[in-house]
């Protein structure tokens, strides 16, 4: 029974890890940068959902959708104002470009944390559950119905993103820009609009995970540190820029962390992720699915 619960709860958590990492990997695929403000978009989603329901009296589903829209909008603004110079040649190339990306996204992260702290105050805010009860009993096992529902919505979102990327025209354009921005431009793809779309998708996805997790992790200014760190591990594990890698990596990390925490030591739970990260970097630097994605 315990093993089943370990795998089950690990998978539930893994879905969220995958969701958080998906946004990061999409941005890396297109812009080849790591967005250090990724966790703060998670935080915005968590606050948006909690505030809209608790203080504005909005119903849960419209509040979730609003959180997604806010995340998407934030992604678009970030792309327009801060990240566009990366591919328009305004900040040069090579190391200079990487430095710009690190500084600008790090700065954005600190700015958002402090801005929200000033606007919302220091107290954590628990988002309301999507379900009326806090727990249900299934076969003698108590589980949080919100966690189940949120994970199901997370899984559906993962499926929807895969479909968009693989099955739609816009998805093909995203793949083309990810492979070769210059080549995509030559064949008539508006790579600027594709970048905006990807940032919007990334912001929306991570804001959704923040909103879904607000009842479990609560909303507070630096809640984004946790998803940011987990996302980095998952993206490296799955392969930078690989969507399938992010999903498998997220699920794997969720289950492995649970097993390690229970059978080895809870105190080193987060360490397991970093051990995996180091092993992957040493033995398979392109991650589990990195190569395959680059060949698409």
């Amino acid at each position: 029974m315990l093993v089943f619960e370990i795998v089950f709860t690990g998978l539930l958590m893994g879905i969220f890890y995958a969701l958080m990492a998906l946004g990061l990997t999409l941005i890396f695929g297109i812009l080849k940068i790591v967005n250090f403000a990724h966790g703060e978009l998670f935080m915005l989603g968590a606050y948006a959902y909690a505030v809209l329901v608790l203080r504005a009296g909005m119903a849960a589903v419209p509040a979730l959708l609003s959180a997604v829209l806010l995340g998407a909008l934030a992604g678009v603004v970030v792309e327009r104002l801060l990240l566009r110079p990366l591919y328009t040649g305004q900040v040069g190339a090579g190391p200079l470009r990487d430095e710009y990306a690190i500084i600008v996204t790090f700065g954005l992260s600190l700015f958002l944390i402090n801005l929200v702290h000033q606007l919302m105050g220091p107290y954590p805010l628990k988002g309301p559950d999507l379900t009326a009860t806090s727990r249900i009993e299934v076969f003698g096992m108590f589980v949080s119905p919100h966690r189940l529902l949120a994970s199901a919505l997370g899984a559906l979102t993962l499926g929807a993103v895969i479909w968009i990327i693989r099955g739609t025209v816009w998805g093909k354009r995203v793949q083309a820009v990810a492979q070769n921005r210059f080549g995509a431009a030559i064949v008539g793809i508006d790579h600027t609009r594709v970048s905006t779309l990807v940032l919007a998708m990334s912001g929306g996805i991570v804001a959704l995970s923040g909103a879904l997790l607000a009842p479990l992790f609560h909303a507070y200014p630096d809640v984004g540190a946790f998803p940011a760190v987990k996302s980095f591990v998952v993206v490296v594990l799955g392969g930078m820029g690989s969507i399938a890698g992010s999903i498998v990596g997220g699920l794997l990390l969720g289950v492995l962390e649970n097993f390690g925490a229970i059978y080895l030591s809870y105190e080193y739970r987060d360490t397991f992720g970093f051990v995996i990260l180091m092993l992957v970097l040493l033995l398979r630097p392109h991650g589990l699915f990195g190569e395959r994605t680059r060949e698409v």
Binding site: I6, P124, R135
Partner: protein, 405 residues
């Protein structure tokens, strides 16, 4: 000879000059290093700031201290020891504060007091519970704050009286958390040696405690003790409840950090808080002194809610410094430290004195009052909770209500 006379005159001039500089200040500057931004406990920092402000306003309204207004200079240390050390260094050397108070995080306080000790500046500890703060034995540091051993002994007594046999404590990975878990182990060994006590250290920055909670399903303890501050404590409490572990018919949930009186508690804990037994440092059913009533009244007029213990601790901290300066008739460090040592001041909850015995009681208000109470309904406010122990109220564990499921 002339040279020596000149040197003496210059030295005298400098001494008089420095004295004049201090006396010429229009206000008495007190430094307050607190967490005003993450990752520190900003919620605690805000309560401390509110408490200091109430006391400052009351003092200044009454004419100030030594005829001067009190000015509090706040520095944000974000709950990071290195930043706390730098903040205190800045307050002392650049802002020329005459005393420090307001500190509320043990790990940061342990760094701060080194600086106060080095510069010989009096420091009144508002809310750093770690015994290690006292064990350093610095003559400049005085503790209005509660301390881990006090909590551990009080809780061990309750645990012994409740006759539980298997206790698991979740402690945060800070000087406060691990220190209190250790103190509780020692206290239980004395008063209830038959109790099986296990402590587990959790990362206060973690979000998902399910892997720490799941194994308890197979081996349910009689009681779970939480030694964590928010937001981690809220997340843990919710996950204990969601997994059907505690509070439950089988397992009591006992909060050792006194978070149940935080203003945002019910916004974050909901159903998981019903049945929670809590250690506390204030309850509205406990009698306040005249000063306490004035602080409460001033706070309620301003904030429209009942003050919690941090408000009182912070107010007392400033009143203690003001009292010492008044008795010393000076803001000079040695005189204030000497006066603090001889303190006998009626604070908000009772008469405060500082113990002189070396060790964990060094310059500590030893008999700090405490309470034990239980939250019996969702959203219940502090005045309505079930008080089972307090000053003048004998511990009555039989009154505690066990959750139905």
């Amino acid at each position: 000879m002339i040279t020596r006379r000149w040197l003496m005159m210059v030295g005298l001039g400098l001494w008089v000059g420095s004295a004049v500089t201090v006396d010429a200040q229009e206000t008495i500057k007190i430094g307050a290093p607190i967490a005003m931004s993450p990752p520190g406990s900003v919620a605690q920092g805000k309560e401390v700031r509110d408490g200091l402000t109430i006391a400052q306003e009351m003092l200044n309204k009454g004419g100030g201290v030594l005829g001067k207004k009190i000015e509090i200079l706040y520095e944000d240390h974000q709950g990071i020891p290195e930043k706390g050390r730098a903040a205190v260094e800045k307050l002392i050397t650049r802002d020329k504060v005459v005393a420090i108070t307001g500190e509320h995080a043990s790990s940061v306080t342990l760094a701060d007091i080194d600086v106060a000790h080095r510069y010989n500046i009096p420091l009144v500890n508002t809310n750093a519970w770690s015994d290690a703060v006292r064990l350093k034995g610095y003559p400049q540091v005085f503790n209005r704050s509660n301390y881990n051993t006090r909590v551990a002994e009080a809780m061990a007594d309750v645990i012994a009286r409740m006759k539980v046999k298997n206790v698991v404590a979740f402690a945060e990975n800070t000087d406060y958390g691990t220190g209190q878990a250790e103190a509780m182990k020692k206290a239980l060994a004395k008063v209830a040696p038959d109790v099986k006590f296990t402590s587990r250290v959790l990362d206060r920055a973690a979000k998902d405690f399910t892997p720490a909670v799941l194994p308890l399903k197979a081996d349910r303890p009689d009681m779970i003790v939480t030694i964590m501050i928010p937001p981690a404590s809220y997340v843990l409490m919710n996950q204990l409840y969601e997994n059907g572990i505690a509070p439950s018919k089988q397992t009591w949930l006992y909060d050792g950090a006194g978070v149940a009186d935080y203003p945002e508690f019910w916004d974050n804990v909901k159903d998981a808080g019903v049945g929670l037994v809590s250690f506390g440092l204030y309850h509205p059913k406990v009698a306040l002194t005249k000063l306490g009533k004035d602080v409460r009244e001033a706070y309620m007029a301003k904030e429209k809610r009942e003050p919690n213990r941090l408000i009182f601790q912070a107010a007392d901290s400033l009143f203690l410094l003001a009292d010492a300066m008044t008795r010393a008739r000076s803001t000079e460090a040695d005189a204030v430290i000497k006066a603090l040592r001889d303190t006998r001041f009626e604070g908000v909850l009772g008469v405060i004195t500082f113990d002189k015995e070396p060790g964990i009681y060094f310059q500590q208000w030893k008999n700090i009052p405490f309470v034990t109470y239980q939250l019996t309904a969702k959203g219940q406010q502090l005045p309505d909770t079930l008080l089972v122990q307090g000053p003048g109220i004998e511990l009555a564990v039989d009154k505690l209500m066990r959750p139905a499921r």
